[in-house]
Symmetry: C2
Subunit: 459 residues, 2 copies
C-alpha cells in the first residue's frame, strides 16, 4: 500500500516536478490507485495540479478526478478545454457526475450539463430530483438489465456488449417490458448455469428493494444487513430506476457515522475532512452548540443560586458537586450513546421502548448501588479516617451516596428515553440526545442533591 | 423489505406454529432473506427453534444459521445429529466456520472440528492462528486462483468448475506456482475479453494487498478507500493466503464504529446487540469507567476545597462553576471526537500534529472570544440590568469571561493532543481521550477560574 504519511512520496513527486521529469512522473503515477493519485495531486500547488493531471491516461485521470475534493475538481474543470471536459464526463459514471454537480457552483454546473451527452444529462437530471438524503439521490442508473425470456448465452452476450459502461455487472436485474423489477441474477449464477438455461428459470425472485424516496441510511443498512453487492431502487410504481452499489454504500455508512459522532459531540456536520475544513468553517460548525449549551447551563447556575444558603451553611457539600454532576453525565451518556448506536444499526425500535426502559432501570439501580457503596467506603475510610476530614459525617456521606443512586437512576432513564423518543418523532437521536443530556442531568443531580441535603441534614 | 418492527409477522409465525401449519410456515420462510429468517427464529422459544429450522431447505438453513446469534447457534448444534451437523458445515464458508468456532464453548468446538472435512479443518486452524484483530483473522481462504498462462476460456472454465465453493468470483487472483500473488482480474474483465486472450496479458498487476498480521481495521479502511470488492491477504513471504470480502469488511466497519462509540462514552465493548446483552453484562461494561471517573472527580473536589475560602468570600462565583466546567467539557469533546473520527478514517496522522494543533488553537481562540463576548453581554444586560443581580459586577463578569477564553483554549488543545498522542503510542484514542477528558478539563477550568478570581477580585 502507498504510504503517504511519511511524506517521502510527496517529496519525490515535487522533486520530479521541479526537474520537469514528466515521463518518470507519469510512470510513477500510473502504478498508483486513483484514490492515492488524488491525494498526491491535491498536495500540489494550484499551478502544478492541471499540469500533472494531464500526464495521466484518460481513464485513470477520470478515476482520480472522482476521488478528489471539490476544490480541486473545480480548479481542474476551469482549466479544461471543452473537449477535455467532454472526455472526462464520458468516463464518469452517472452517480459520480451527480456528486460532482452537487458540489460545483452554478456556472460550472451549466458548463458540465452543456458538455454531457444527452443520455447522461437526462439521467443526471432524474437523480438530482430526489431529496438530498434519499436512496434515489445516491443511486446510479447504469445497471445491467436482462429480460426473462433470454437464454444465459444471450444474457452473457448482452453483458459483453453493454457491460463496459455499467457500474457493476456482478448483479444483473431482470425487468418486464414495463420496466418492473421481476428478479435478479448474479454473474456467478449466469456463469455456473448451462448456456441454454432461460433467465426466467434461474433468476432469484424474492427481491428486496428500496424506494427512491426511502432514507439513504435505511437503504445502505439493508444492503449491509443482507450482504448484497447492490440494492435495487424502484419508483412509486415499482419500476426499477437505479441501483445503489456497495462501494457507494460504504461511503454513506462512513459519512453517516461521522455525522453521528459530530452530533453527539455537539457539532454540525461539515462535508470536508478535518484538515481541509478552514478555521472559520470549523468554528461555524462548533459555536452554535457551545453557545446554546453555555446558555442552557444558566439553569444549572440558577439551581445552585437558589440553594446558595444551604451551601453556605454546609460548605463541604460544594466539594462533591462536580463528582455528582460528572457521574450523572457519564451514566446518562452511556445509555444514550448505546441507544443512539443501536437505533442507527436498526437493532432497536420504538416498539422495544418498555424492554429498553426495564433494562436500563435494572442496570441503573445496580450501577448506582455499586457506586454508592464504593463512595461511602471511600468517604468514611479515606476522607474521614485517613485524612481526618471531620466535616464528612455519616449523614453527609449518606446524602452524597443517596444522591448518587438517584442521579444515576434519572440519568440512565432520561439517557435511554431521549434517543428513543426523538427517533420516533423523526428527529436525529444523536442531535437531541447527545449535547443536551449533560445539561438536563446536571440540573437533575443538583435538585436531587439539595433535596436530600434538606431532608437529612436539615440545611 | 420485511418489517419485523410491528410484530405482525412474528405473531403470524407463532400462530402457524401453534396450529402446526408446517408447510405454510415453510412457504413463508423460504421467501425471506437469511438475515430475516434468523431474526424470526431467534424470537421463538428454545423448543420451537430446532423444529422450525428443520423446515428450511439445506442451503437456506445454513445461510440463516450464519446470521444467528451464538446462543441460538449453540442450541441448534446441540440439537443436531452428527449427519445434520456435517451437512450444515459443508454449506458454510470457511470464515463463517471460524466465526462460529470463536463463539462456541470447547465441547462444541471439538464436535465441529470432528465433523468438518479435512480441508476445512486445515483452513480453519490456519485462520485461527492469527491474532483476534488481525487481517488474517477475518479473511477467507476460498478465493478463485488463476494461472497467468491460462487463456480467458480456460479461466472461465475453471471458475465454472470451482466457483460454486468460492466466497466470491467477482475478483479472481493470479498466482505463481509458488503461490505468490502476481495480479488480479475481475470477472468483468474476463467477460469483456476475447476467449483466447491470455490471463497474464489482461490482468491488473498494480496490486494492493494487506499482510495477515496487519490490523483488521487498516485492511477494511483500505478496502473502502480503494472501492475494492475484496482485499488480498498475503503472508510474510508475499504468498496469497486469503481474501477479505466486502460484506465481511462492512461488518468489521460497523463493529469498530460501535466500539468507538462505546469507548467515547466510557463503556467496554460487548459483542452482543443492545437488547441481547443481559443486565449484569451491561453493568460490567459500564461500571469500571463510572467508578474510575467518580474517583478521578475527587481531584476536582480537592481543587474546589482548596478554594473554599475564596468561594465563601464571593459566593456568586459558585453559580458559574457548572457553566464553566460544561463549556470546557463540550469544547474539549468537540476537538477530541473530531480527531478520534479522523484518525480512524485515516484522514489525519501523527505527522499532522503541528497543523492540527495550529488549527485547534485558532478555532479555540475564535470560539472562546465569541463565547466570552456573548456571556459578558448576557451577564451585564440580563443578570445585572434586567434581573438586578448586583453581585455580578463588571469585575466578576471579567473573571468569568476570561476564564471562558482560557478554558476553551486549554480544553481544545488537550482535546486534540490526547487522541493524537494516544494513537501514536498505539493506544485506542477513543478509550484514552473520551472519558478522561472531562475530568482533566474540569480541573483545568477550576484552576483557571480561581486564578483569575484571585488576580482580579483579590479573593
Amino acid at each position: 500500500m502507498i504510504d503517504l504519511e511519511n511524506g517521502v512520496l510527496l517529496n519525490q513527486v515535487e522533486e520530479m516536478v521541479g526537474r520537469k521529469r514528466w515521463s518518470d512522473l507519469r510512470d510513477l503515477l500510473v502504478l498508483m490507485e486513483p484514490a492515492d493519485i488524488a491525494l498526491v495531486l491535491e498536495a500540489l500547488s494550484r499551478e502544478q495540479l492541471p499540469l500533472l493531471y494531464r500526464l495521466l491516461p484518460k481513464e485513470l485521470a477520470a478515476e482520480a478526478f472522482v476521488e478528489m475534493e471539490s476544490e480541486e475538481q473545480e480548479l481542474l474543470i476551469q482549466s479544461f478545454s471543452d473537449t477535455e471536459l467532454k472526455e472526462v464526463l464520458e468516463e464518469l459514471y452517472v452517480d459520480d457526475t451527480v456528486d460532482l454537480i452537487e458540489e460545483m457552483p452554478a456556472t460550472v454546473v451549466k458548463r458540465i450539463l452543456q458538455h454531457a451527452d444527452p443520455d447522461t444529462r437526462r439521467s443526471v437530471n432524474e437523480i438530482l430530483k430526489y431529496p438530498e438524503d434519499s436512496a434515489g439521490s445516491i443511486m446510479t442508473t447504469e445497471f445491467v438489465d436482462l429480460k426473462q425470456d433470454m437464454t444465459v448465452e444471450a444474457a452473457i452476450k448482452r453483458i459483453r456488449r453493454t457491460g463496459v459502461d455499467k457500474e457493476t455487472i456482478n448483479i444483473c436485474y431482470v425487468t418486464s417490458p414495463g420496466r418492473h423489477l421481476l428478479g435478479l441474477v448474479s454473474i456467478r449464477t449466469l456463469l455456473l448455469a448451462a448456456e441454454d438455461d432461460v433467465i426466467g428459470d434461474i433468476m432469484e425472485t424474492n427481491i428486496i428493494s428500496v424506494s427512491t424516496m426511502d432514507d439513504r441510511e435505511d437503504a445502505v443498512q439493508a444492503l449491509s444487513r443482507y450482504d448484497f453487492l447492490a440494492m435495487p431502487v424502484v419508483d412509486d410504481e415499482q419500476r426499477l430506476v437505479g441501483i445503489v452499489t456497495i462501494d457507494d454504500a460504504i461511503d454513506v455508512i462512513n459519512e453517516e457515522t461521522t455525522e453521528d459522532f459530530e452530533h453527539i459531540a455537539g457539532m454540525t456536520h461539515t462535508d470536508k475532512p478535518y484538515l481541509r475544513a478552514g478555521v472559520w468553517e470549523t468554528v461555524k460548525s462548533r459555536i452554535p452548540w457551545l453557545l446554546l449549551l453555555m446558555l442552557s447551563a444558566t439553569f444549572t447556575g440558577m439551581v445552585l443560586s437558589v440553594f446558595e444558603d444551604a451551601l453556605a451553611a454546609c460548605s463541604v457539600l460544594t466539594v462533591f458537586i462536580p463528582m455528582l454532576m460528572d457521574t450523572g453525565g457519564n451514566s446518562g451518556n452511556q445509555s444514550s450513546v448505546a441507544l443512539i448506536r443501536s437505533l442507527s444499526l436498526d437493532e432497536v425500535h420504538f416498539s422495544d421502548l418498555l424492554s429498553v426502559l426495564w433494562k436500563e432501570i435494572r442496570v441503573a439501580v445496580t450501577c448506582g448501588a455499586i457506586l454508592a457503596v464504593c463512595n461511602f467506603a471511600k468517604l468514611m475510610l479515606v476522607d474521614r479516617l485517613l485524612l481526618h476530614n471531620t466535616d464528612i459525617t455519616i449523614m453527609v456521606a449518606a446524602v452524597i451516596c443517596l444522591t448518587l443512586v438517584f442521579t444515576v437512576f434519572c440519568a440512565k432513564v432520561v439517557g435511554c428515553l431521549m434517543p428513543m423518543i426523538s427517533d420516533k418523532l423523526g428527529l436525529d437521536p444523536a442531535v437531541v440526545a447527545g449535547p443536551f443530556l449533560t445539561t438536563i442531568v446536571d440540573v437533575l443531580s443538583l435538585l436531587i442533591y439539595f433535596q436530600f441535603a434538606r431532608l437529612i441534614l436539615r440545611v
